[in-house]
Symmetry: C2
Subunit: 237 residues, 2 copies
Amino acid sequence: MASADIKALIFDVFGTVVDWRTSITREGQAFGTRKGIDADWAAFADGWRSLYDPAMARIRDGNRDFVKLDVLHRENLLEMLDRTGISGLSEAEIDDLNYAWHRLDPWPDSVAGLTRLKSKFIIATQSNGNIALMVNMAKRAGLPWDAILGAEVVGHYKPEPEAYIKACDRLGLAPEQVLMTAAHNGDLVAAAACGLRTAFVARPTEHGPNQTKDFKAEHDFDYIATDFEDLASQLGC
Amino acid sequence: MASADIKALIFDVFGTVVDWRTSITREGQAFGTRKGIDADWAAFADGWRSLYDPAMARIRDGNRDFVKLDVLHRENLLEMLDRTGISGLSEAEIDDLNYAWHRLDPWPDSVAGLTRLKSKFIIATQSNGNIALMVNMAKRAGLPWDAILGAEVVGHYKPEPEAYIKACDRLGLAPEQVLMTAAHNGDLVAAAACGLRTAFVARPTEHGPNQTKDFKAEHDFDYIATDFEDLASQLGC
């Protein structure tokens, strides 16, 4: 397809732009050191993340009103603390650990690639993360977004169709003018079903040794790139 | 007050960040030249803008569901075209003229001042303009926002209290951590009533020769600045 037709790129963030597993593990280790808590923080990160999709599913299924991801992350954190036998934390300590999701590090190519892409296109988040999470992450990591979109702006969690369709509407663009970029086949299949263009960027170490899928593009996406710099090159940036 | 307590600055945009009157006049003149239409485009800009607040008032008052500002601007444009006897335009030409609001120029100090402020604070739009309008304006003018907030994100037009309160909520901040910046006394009075901090920046030529108010701060705002560079200095940026 001609990149001239594309006006905006919207991005999955957790796993695609930032390395949540390494970052949450690091945050957990630092927290454990401060508190004198010995735990397998990589396993803690994996467990915490495993509760993410089921928590959103209740909202997608209509069994719960929309709440922002900070709220779901905190509920899931309490579950993980209980599972791992960590107790005695103050509310402020729990909040601080919960906001580890606001302090995720980008993949090495993310900032440079996004900066190139921004020179030619609107670049926006299309994450299930809430606005404050995305803004704080971007400030810390230097992610140069033009706009923070995503679940909290439109009131729907991916992969609900409304999440993609309303994002395009908010940008004043038709779906075919918007390129959804993600490291997850399922996210892109859902976006394509709504008429968006698609770009797959492989992040084969997202889940560390536990990764079982999304090693490569499994569908005929519009672009398939090794990283954001490669995507920028393919798009003529 | 100590600027250390402030985490984010949110900004009125039309008149405070950008010079809408000069820009709309320029856009009208260029449109008139292309179409061979002779009109007083400064008066056209003033008339178009005069329909802005009444259009939002119907929504604020609950007499109409929320629609984004692009829609109100277009309805008001049709009214102005009718009033000034301009006819025979295509739908695409009307849209293009309507999107003049996406192509407003910043005041001379806006980009440099915002860039300094961004080094220390989250900076976000808190405009009645919709997301696409703000994003397109920012891309063209180089406005370095961290986030696009405002009416379309929260579903309320200023000066409704919900507009200010929900903006703080979206940033995950308490109102007293957020500094509302505007060239309009009324906007700041409404923000202060919601607990936000306030900064007045004078824009005495916003309305050209027709300006009747907002020449200076008329209340005891937290900061009173001559322009964004001055505000950045006062805030230690």
